[in-house]
Amino acid sequence: MAAIELEGVAHHYGAEAGADPEWALDGLSHRFEDGTAVAVLGPSGCGKTTLLKVVSGLLQPTRGRVTIDGRDVTPLPPRERHITQVFQFPVVYDSMTVEGNLDFPLRNRGVPEAERRARVREVAELLDLTALLPRRARGLSASLRQTVSLARGLVRPDAAALLLDEPLTVIDPGRRWEIRQKLKRVHAESALTLVYVTHDQTEALTFADLVVVMDAGRILQVGTPRELFETPAHRFVGHFIGSPGMNLLPCHLEGRAAVVDDLRIPLGAAADRAAGSRGTLELGVRPEYLELRTDPAAETVPVRVQAVAELGDHRIVTALLAGRSLKVRVPDGATLPSERAHLHFPPERICLYREGKLVS
């Protein structure tokens, strides 16, 4: 029901503390399309939470503009934006019943009583809270508290977008799927725009249609989970996404091959894209695509197997290539070469990076 657009939004907290400005958000622009579920993924301190606060109005950006459905809301306080937010730390008003909690945002907005009651019933039904409505909110378990605060976010009929700031962090792992299922159901039934901030890639990739990867206050890539996996636009994205992340090797280009120290690794289309570029590049390849072989072949390079980690259905092999360590994912059951082995780089799976950015 709402598209949220950020235009050149920058923010630093230094102005209040009087310190050197350190940009928590460094001039980013992005459009959250109407009705989509978008995950914002990045390491701690990358500016994800600041981004959410700017959208919800808890924070005025130092620079830039926030529009919701074309309306400039940058100077508006949270209560005048049609946005709700759920926090990492479940906020529940302990002095009220669960019903009072759900009713609170409606009462504050002067919604007529009959409508309020109907709304509260409806949302409680959706999140399986009906039986708990008359109960005092004090003493609920963490996952129920988070469900109640989620319900408080959903109850407002005017809410067009729901922002979630790492909502599953304090929930014990066993219950996380429960809340995630509820969220998915809510999104399917409500057509709300969802923005879900997390540092957990599994959470982000399973939840969202589109993932925004951030680092140091900037957006590095926006894409579907598949795009992030196959063609990371930045070396950080390659490394951050995947477990383990992308292997990165410094190299330079010679014809249609990348040269790492003295070893030639043949390239596919990436070589054409990078043709003519001089200087140091980085070769990136995912552990999933590398093939470990016992015998040498035309396009393999020799490596030394250093360590093997058993991970149930697969193994992660650490291989040394000219002194640099690489991770290789080997399916369970495949025979492993002992110490000396040969590594095949599938040419079409190789990405080249210059100064951290994908060469395209």
């Binding site: 209560r79 709700t84 926090f87 008003y93 945002p105 003493g139």
Partner: protein
Amino acid sequence: MKRTENPRAWWLVLPVLAVVAFSALIPLMTVVNYSVQDIFGPGQRVFVGAEWFREILHDERLHSAFARQLGFTASVLSIELPLGVAIALAMPTRGAGVSACLVILALPLLIPWNVVGTIWQIFGRADIGLGGAFVHALGIDYNYAQNPADAWLTLLVMDVWHWTSLVALLAYAGLRAIPEAYYQAAQIDGAGAFGVFHHIQLPRLRGVLTIALLLRLMDSFVIYTEPFVLTGGGPGNATTFLSQYLARMAVGQFDLGPAAAFSLIYFLVILALCFVFFTVLTAGEER
């Protein structure tokens, strides 16, 4: 969890038991001993049973001292608690102002009781006291040594000045302990300043305010030094509170029997009041 039993641990508790025995138990039992006997001198005593208790409970002057005491404590609590919370809410939350406010608030708490009494005794005098002279200059005939209402008012203002800081500091600590997310959620939910106070701050201050209330209740119920220094309980008996009356009876007239009976009743009254407040305020804390 596995519990280990080690009888030798009792030896570690022994010193504390000894100290408590000497400082609390033995004096208390001495008081109990006095309260049931009439003592004329060493070796001359008569067991009188509940006689002193009966006499004390029918003492008119004690009744009026008790009423004064209740009035004073109620006034002190109903001013200091709301005022302390209001000050805590108005205090800055960051910057250099925080330290300045904390230091200023802590100052009255550092002053000994008898000095507080002396300060206000002089401050309130019309001839040499700044406060007294100022009130006089306004055309108000203020004299705490002659007018019971003025003496009362002076004591009340003195106690508020001395102890509101304690409530404010406790409330401030309580406010700072509220996670930022609560305020942010309230903003998102569209709550106004009153809503935030009523639904977030007040419920979360419950614990510290219970402590503040109990401390001020006990302290104001045994107030002694300040009225003693200011007017010695006068004018007349206007500011003679329970402890004042007790001291007069015990060390002024040496009526040890009635005084002992009285202090036991006094002790039980404070205990009962604290118990009632504590029970009411913490009811519903568990779910």
